[in-house]
């Protein structure tokens, strides 16, 4: 049979918390459990004042606290207080409970503490991580928004506040889907309903979305942005929200606009210069020493050059579709129904577009003078293909007058035969067959950068 007193004694002795009792104004240890003694390195303590056993507590203010509890008779409680004991920092939640005699006079203090070092350190680590994330997010130049499943904003970093003109608190107060706060109107003034917004589709469609949109600033002005919207998933892979990264692209857009204007201006000047070349030719040839068709040939060539330029400018000097290049070069040179064009969509790099354009023009003027375009029933078939990395084109005249490879070749045909084959690094052949001129081009497919 174990006595109740000894059960209590054992509970006290082996309790995991620190328990001790001190007596008198000098806080002399009367009793301390194993955990407490262990904390102090199991040195002798009973009968000794706290300040003598644990002198390091004096400087930390804990003796003053004991004095205060002793004097006032009021208990003192602390949560996770840092305590340096025997050169070890521990976090302890504790209570100093005054012990009073029958008359109410304080005679000692009951101290009980729980070591919360691990929990406190875990919390501190968490707070450090939070602070680090916070500083990353708030120093990022890209704006970041988090949205919940109702499309309400649950987080905005500093860049997002600067971008939109709203503070996070304001956005929370407005209490609407984020879209209705920063993306509510199209630039033309039409309302922009949430259901039409690509950004918000990242949530319902569980996909990452990217694109460009135009947002509305708090002060009402519109600004272009590039965005990436990604769904946020919980542990069960359920989509619970969206993270949106947004970048202001006003400057890029302005730079693009400037570049377009500059290119337009350059093209304008080039064409004005070509116009002057043409006028000078007109004035020079007018004096009558040259036959009229010399002038026409010259003007036609300048016009072909200009039309190729025009086509390329319309596409920022990147590439031009072959079909359009051919069409433009033939404009005004062939009658209705005299052309038969067929081939796949092929994009030509700028230099090739200009060369082909001039070559087609030369073929057409030749056909107009001597070939199938010189008679109403004449036809030109143009076929092209881009099989296996090679580019082939065939110009075939039919129903024209009989032709022969008469005499030395003029500039136009030499340009086609020699100039074009060099430019394309391929083979260009002119065949003056009885039915009409056939021109075939076979070259590596020119690459568009």
């Amino acid at each position: 049979m174990v006595s109740p007193a000894s059960v209590l004694g054992q509970l006290f002795e082996f309790a995991p918390g620190y328990i001790a009792m001190v007596r008198g104004p000098d806080h002399v240890f009367e009793v301390a459990n194993a955990a407490y003694r262990n904390l102090l390195g199991n040195c002798p303590i009973i009968g000794l004042p706290v300040c003598e056993v644990v002198p390091e507590l004096v400087e930390q203010g804990y003796i003053d606290l004991l004095d205060q509890v002793y004097r006032s008779g009021e208990p003192y409680m602390a949560e996770g207080a840092p305590v340096l004991v025997r050169e070890q920092l521990r976090y302890i939640s504790f209570v100093y409970q005054p012990i009073k005699d029958r008359s109410g006079k304080v005679t000692g203090i009951f101290a009980e503490g729980v070591d919360v070092t691990e929990a406190t350190q875990a919390q501190q680590a968490l707070r450090r991580t939070e602070r680090r994330l916070e500083s990353v997010l708030n120093n990022a130049s890209v704006s970041i928004f988090l949205m919940d499943e109702r499309q309400h904003c649950t987080y905005m970093n500093r860049a997002a506040e600067q971008l939109t003109g709203y503070t996070f608190e304001e956005v929370q107060r407005i209490d609407k889907p984020l879209h209705d706060i920063i993306h509510h109107t199209y630039p033309n003034g039409r309302p922009f309903p949430l259901s039409e917004c690509a950004i918000d589709r990242a949530f319902p469609e569980h996909n990452q979305m990217q694109g460009e949109e135009i947002f509305v600033h708090k002060d009402g002005h519109f600004y272009p942005v590039a965005f990436t919207a990604s769904p946020i998933r919980d542990e069960a892979s359920q989509t619970v929200g969206t993270i949106i990264e947004v970048l202001d692209i006003s400057e890029q857009k302005e730079a693009q606009q400037r570049q377009r204007l500059l290119l337009n201006e350059l093209n304008h000047r080039v064409k004005n210069t070509l116009a002057m070349v043409q006028a000078i030719a007109y004035q020079t040839f007018k004096q009558g020493r040259e036959p009229a068709d010399t002038r026409e040939t010259f003007e036609g060539r300048i016009a072909a050059l200009a039309s190729a330029h025009d086509l390329l400018t319309g596409r920022g000097w990147s590439a031009a579709p072959l079909r359009e290049v051919i069409h433009k070069s033939l404009a005004g040179l062939a009658g209705k129904g005299q052309l038969d064009l067929d081939g796949p969509e092929i994009m030509l790099p700028p230099e090739t577009a200009v060369s082909i354009s001039i070559a087609i023009h030369e073929l057409a003027t030749n056909a107009l003078k001597y070939g199938s375009l010189s008679v109403p029933e004449g036809v030109v078939n143009i076929r092209w293909s881009d099989a296996a990395g090679r580019f082939t084109l065939k110009w075939q005249e039919c129903h024209g007058p009989p032709v022969g490879a008469a005499g030395p070749r003029g500039f136009g045909l030499r340009l086609i035969e020699q100039g074009l084959s060099r430019e394309l690094d391929g083979r260009v052949e002119l065949d003056f067959s009885k039915d009409g001129l056939v021109c075939t081009v076979d070259a590596p497919l020119p690459l568009v950068k």
């Binding site: 000047r269 004005n272 116009a275 002057m276 006028a279 016009a303 200009a306 400018t313």
Partner: protein, 120 residues
């Protein structure tokens, strides 16, 4: 055949080489050239009051646009053609006038003006 013979055509063009050539081409076709003028103010005055059958307007005139001149001609029902080195998507085409893209050859100018006068 000419259809331009005796027609009074206002020429607005600020480049001296081009304006001289346009003048020659029109005179060759028998037209009477009003101008050529290189300044908007003068062009606007002529467009508003001169006796005219047609006009050819360079879109960019000494840093400005000839749209105001076009407006006056349109108000008087005088047909006109724009000439420009710009791609057509940068132009105000609300006036519904034909556009000659520079460089155009002189016969193109004659043809366009003849068509314009025939339609008027």
């Amino acid at each position: 055949m000419t259809g331009l013979s005796g027609k009074r055509v206002l020429v607005v063009e600020d480049d001296p080489i081009l304006s001289l050539t346009i003048e020659d081409v029109l005179v060759e076709a028998g037209a009477v050239v009003i101008g050529p003028v290189a300044w908007l103010k003068e062009a606007e005055e002529l467009a508003g009051s001169a006796q005219l059958d047609a006009a050819i307007l360079d879109v960019n005139i000494n840093g400005g646009h000839s749209y105001s001149v076009a407006g006056r001609l349109a108000a008087r029902g005088i047909p006109f053609v724009f000439a420009t080195g710009y791609a057509s998507d940068g132009l105000q085409t609300h006036l519904n006038a034909p556009i000659l893209h520079k460089p155009y050859n002189p016969r193109q100018l004659q043809t366009t003006l003849r068509e314009l006068l025939a339609a008027a």
